[in-house]
Symmetry: C2
Subunit: 413 residues, 2 copies
Amino acid sequence: MTATSTTPRTPARPSPEQALALRISETELRQRRRRVASELQSRDQRAMVFFNATSVFYLTGFAFIPTERPLALVLTDDDRALAFVPRLEQEHAAETGLFDDVRAYPEYPGERHPMARLADLLRDLRLHDQPLAADAPGYASGWGYDGPRLADVLPDARWTLLPKLVETHRMIKSPREIALIRESARWGNLAHALLQEYSRPGAVETDVAFRASYEATMTMIRTLGPSLEFRGGKGATAGFRGQIGPNSALPHAITRNIRLKPGDVLVTGAGATVWGYNSELERTMFVGEPTPEQRRYFDLMVAMQEVAFEAIRPGRPCAEVDRAVQAFVDRHGLRETWRHHVGHALGILGHEAPFFDVGHETVIQPGMVFSVEPGIYVPGLGGFRHSDTVAVTESGIEFLTYYPRDLGSLICG
Amino acid sequence: MTATSTTPRTPARPSPEQALALRISETELRQRRRRVASELQSRDQRAMVFFNATSVFYLTGFAFIPTERPLALVLTDDDRALAFVPRLEQEHAAETGLFDDVRAYPEYPGERHPMARLADLLRDLRLHDQPLAADAPGYASGWGYDGPRLADVLPDARWTLLPKLVETHRMIKSPREIALIRESARWGNLAHALLQEYSRPGAVETDVAFRASYEATMTMIRTLGPSLEFRGGKGATAGFRGQIGPNSALPHAITRNIRLKPGDVLVTGAGATVWGYNSELERTMFVGEPTPEQRRYFDLMVAMQEVAFEAIRPGRPCAEVDRAVQAFVDRHGLRETWRHHVGHALGILGHEAPFFDVGHETVIQPGMVFSVEPGIYVPGLGGFRHSDTVAVTESGIEFLTYYPRDLGSLICG
């Protein structure tokens, strides 16, 4: 149709599925790939092999279950993306990942080892004697995998390890990534609200956590409709991970079948996965009225989190946020209750670099997304920790989680 | 009290919590540790560093959330077990793991890197210039970790990599391990029965899976009482992982929000975690009456699984089981529908070595526990796969899963 045609043109309309745009667009995936390809060019590398599942997802949108079967993305310096997958992932990769080609091998270990077949593929691409990069010396999996390194199967290539290339790119989130994390926080908030509602004396941890997660997930599905793809995860979750009563003094307790009772301190966790992206919301709650001692630690924890929020400014090193909190810890005689640094970045993974830690000098930049979660842990009494997810802006932070933080709002039962 | 005392002695009675004995005993954990220690002696290694979380659990019972913070077990050749943990895991490791000592470092990355502190610990133990083994060159984590190798921080030690030592020990399960996997299968069976009950036309995948998992988990908790510890996992689960209708033709689909409709083929999965041990139960089900074509593939799949069961005999190589099934595949013209090997070992992990794969010559031995799950995948129509968990006996196999396998029992709605 030409510009002079008199037939009125129907403007291209997004399909209903695209209305909420709950995904990373193909355009953005292509930008990510091109950025890597151009870095390979500037480093004089002809191609790069990615074994890391998070990197494969980041660059192509292909979410899969990593197993003992090697799976790799080969990205060439002219931005050609080849999937190297076991036969059982061939159609799955072709249908859901942004690849130019998908090459499948039969099985692991198979009659010819998958790493030898990956070498065949690189030879087919005439890359066997070229300078090549990889994110790891070889494939790795705890699920019974065993195999040679890339340098063993393709010794004529000149291998360079670039384990942190994509991790560095992932540190600064795009507006769309932040939108997905914000969407995740919305459903984590609903799951948490239900968790609080069901947290009553006599309730069992697993019951409360399951019901809250189930109802929030179903509401998420009904509300967002076919726009929603998890790409990892199973929807919204909320729970305690064993952090109930005295057990909440263990920052990384694991799920048990504890029954809630009056006087318990609870440390919660909630989130949701939206097209592979996650948020983190944690709250300290009380079953009934807290004791004066519990109230005192709660107030100190909230004040400590405020110190952290204030310290997060673009241009400062991450370490300064931890140092500000450590100074608070010492000023208030809390050293004995200290267990961990202030927070970590997050996005596709629940924990990502950089860290708000005295040992991490990475400069805070707009677009970074962090958990902010300094904690106080008192053996025999309980743990006190809120975690909020914040995005760094040009001047400070924007909250992506928004659940109430004050004590009055966090009493259950 | 002497043997001649006239006071009748009350025999030692197990506590109610021990009645079901749903755990690996301290005696058995000590046997595992001693076996490693004696192998170190025979190899002239003074100690071994374990970074692998599964190995740490296997040798000490300590289940934890692996993060960016390095965590290691140092086991000496005289069977002394030291936990090297971040501060936030110190009490958790001391309370739940079988360690002789727990050494905590403040945090990762911290002012002094945890790997440098691990070197300090090994120097304190006067092991810095000794022959030492490790299961990996250094700590590894996708969660933003970065750090030096053991050989970098302790260059005077003579390092030997033994990445497969404990994995090899884990291949043969003890009677207690098999009992835990059998207990897991019982609750997987309940979750699966509920899943089938709730699988009706119009139902949404996530709804059905969540309800079945929730109810089975709560029943598991109520039935077993305080004897039950998950040590990983959250109880019983059942679901489809997206394997519904045509999407079931993808062997490793991931969870979506698919609505069940008449004529759908479903491929399910169910299991439960009991003190860290797992089972695997998968079934092919139909929403309503299957078509003749669906019935034909179902019958072929069941016959193929029978071929596999028959082929599993102690003393044969694992590869023979796969070869027997591959012969069946070719005999019945099913090559186009073939996607993966026959099965894998399992226990603490969902997939473990060895594999029923043409490339795996490991000899089948009594005490090994395998999934048996050859599948048929027809694009557009669906997938056909049952998975059963079996233990190898002196003469053949014993079924740990027992859900009906016949078509008549697997029609829903």
